[in-house]
């Protein structure tokens, strides 16, 4: 199944809605993958403003 990206929080997800944002405003075309595993200690997470570990896209269309 094709993964989509929430336009609000940039989470990569399967299905039709983002459970975090409660929106179905999803992008089918996206690029760049970031996986945050340790949001507390990751500098990348800090730069992106991410505080919950998950998969994110860097860009959507």
């Amino acid at each position: 199944m094709a993964e989509k990206v929430c336009r609000h929080c940039m989470r990569v997800l399967e299905g039709q809605t983002c459970v975090i944002c409660g929106t179905s405003d999803l992008a089918e075309e996206w690029s760049g993958l970031v996986i945050i595993l340790d949001a507390e200690r990751s500098e990348i997470a800090k730069k992106l403003g991410v505080d919950i570990p998950d998969k994110f896209a860097l860009k959507v269309r």
């Binding site: 340790d38 200690r41 500098e43 730069k47 998969k55």
Partner: protein
């Protein structure tokens, strides 16, 4: 205090960057390794970036991952890879007046002059050279190749 993060680079098989990133996340969780983040920017073909405090952790993690070919020697700072976190719009570098060639879609192979650049929508409006009547058409910024930057 936890140890400082560094960025390590893994060489992967081409087009397997995302599968390596996903597999690495799975191994890291299962083995409870101190891997903090994994980055697979589209601009970086054949490589995946890993945020961890020590190279040994990454070296260990990639042993069982298919398509993860090797750990590149040395490490980078976060500052050195920060630009990957803000990908540029595909129209960046395309200016009004530039001459482009359309690389896909119904106008593939046509040459045109750029009339307008829309950064927000990543689209450009062009006028085809071969059209009998010059009608502006709007196309995606990633479906063109720049032939001449402007009409100098």
């Amino acid at each position: 205090m936890s140890e400082d993060s560094q960025i390590f680079v893994i060489k992967t098989t081409a087009n397997q960057e995302r599968s390596v990133a996903t597999a690495l996340a799975r191994v890291s969780k299962k083995e409870k390794l101190d891997i903090r983040a994994i980055l697979a920017p589209d601009e970086l073909k054949g490589y995946v970036l890993v945020e961890a405090p020590k190279s040994g952790i990454v070296e260990l993690a990639i042993q069982t991952i298919p398509h993860a070919r090797a750990l590149v020697k040395g490490s980078s700072s976060i500052a050195e890879i920060e630009h990957f976190l803000k990908p540029k719009p595909t129209v960046t570098g395309i200016k009004e007046g530039a001459i482009i060639e359309v690389t896909s879609g119904p106008f593939k192979g046509e040459k045109a002059r750029v009339k307008r650049v829309d950064e927000g929508h990543e689209e450009i409006t062009v006028e085809l050279f071969d059209a009998v009547v010059p009608i502006p058409i709007t196309i995606r910024g990633d479906t063109v190749r720049i032939l001449k930057k402007d009409n100098e």
